[in-house]
Symmetry: D2
Subunit: 152 residues, 4 copies
């Protein structure tokens, strides 16, 4: 359920759900730009906020937890504190127990993504850590942000 | 210009300037709460955003840079993603080249701080790293958020 | 059990227990130095490694957990990736349920600390979060690193 | 110069150069494992340590800087503080101005990678940010860790 990037560069119209992502001072590295590692913290936060806040799915105390099995990011242009970014989030594939998110970061009023990436998460039983069906409430939430067309 | 905490616990009325601080998924640690280290990232960001965004002071490329020489934090109650916090920021002491900030984190609609801390920054010459007078624009910005009374 | 710093600057001889702390690339900030926030991650790690690895105390799954209620740091000289630091760790005060650690970071072959700080941790019951006596195994471990004399 | 993962799972024999990577307390997230974001900090650090320490390439003050344009990671098994990991690092492709690193994290005495990933870096002129030839010293260092065979 992986295989990397399917499109040259994400654009704003690819997404329906957006989240504001303020940068932090320490996100910037020696080069004066947000360090590549931190982009994943933005992605991670966008996914978890969507599930926990918008969809009210309990991914901390619930019986089924999402574990990330693969992710990736492409960096199209540099970002820097104190910019406030917008993260677009959508679902590219939805399986029985796994989901592939597409995520992109946009500067305000920019059509083309400054960075785009993907996360493949597998839902697992909290005790056995074996894959488990995505619970109905989470599934319904993920279906709401399925990307219209395969991006490309 | 240090000596720690001067009041039992900060309250919302101590501050005039507030900044929204969204938590990130990875801020939470094993105990399910924001890790103590991350509070300093919130404080750090509040200070730098105030200077860079509100006061338009160039603390990256300018000739005089603020270096932190001491800071501290007290943790009154736990915080957790996905909470969106409010940081209150004020200036407790303003010297020739140094400033002591008081900062506190609040949950929405809470009067008492969930955490409060301080930062002592010294402005230094970017080349020699020797202390330098706070530039006029930064000084004016810092004077605007001087705390009414010595907190206590 | 707080009140800040009791000595001008920590020296290597203050400590018996040392831990190697390799810096990471992203620890450096725009100024090319380790960001102030990250020092607390070094401190935090030194404490938890001592308890978990040296003393084999289970601070994750055990019935009593250490929560940080206050900490602070003074920055005497800048540090930078790729330096490998040494953290000195000792106990300055040991109460029924709380402990005050003194911690300092040293560059190799340097007598004076590049930074020094303290952590006050309170042990709490994992369910009620009320303060609880420090368990015997942890207490024995903490007694082994009590600082000879009150530093100063 | 990208296209993701070329092998099912990295093994120790794929690599010649290894770096010790101690975890930090705050690397662990709510699930008690190292958060996915932090793996990239390990990767990032392995690359920069190799260049700066082993190869003595100045990637901070030099005229040509490596910028990351793409990276990815697969998570095969969970990791947790206080584990000390080993990072294997090699070069899979070396172009005029770009390099593709393969990186994997291993638990001690384990043959199969706990995680494996890649970084594509492009060297750019520090002023114009346009791609520039990899400087001779860096190129020589990268050639020393070219992976024997295309992994697979």
């Amino acid at each position: 359920m992986s295989t990397a990037f399917t499109k040259t560069r994400a654009v704003r119209d690819d997404f329906h759900y957006f989240l504001s992502v303020p940068t932090r001072w320490m996100d910037n590295d020696v080069y004066g730009h947000v360090n590549n590692v931190v982009y994943y913290a933005y992605f991670d936060t966008a996914i978890c906020r969507y599930l926990m806040v918008e969809a009210e799915v309990d991914i901390i105390g619930g019986p089924v937890l999402p574990f990330t099995v693969e992710n990736g990011c492409r960096y199209h242009r540099s970002l820097a504190f104190p910019q406030v970014l917008e993260a677009g989030l959508g679902v590219a594939r939805l399986g029985r127990s796994s989901v592939r998110y597409e995520i992109a970061l946009f500067l305000q009023d920019q059509r083309d993504a400054a960075a785009d990436g993907y996360f493949v998460d597998v839902f697992v039983d909290r005790d056995t850590h074996r894959s488990a069906p995505i619970p109905p409430k989470a599934r319904a939430a993920l279906e709401r942000i399925i990307l219209d067309r395969r991006r490309g």
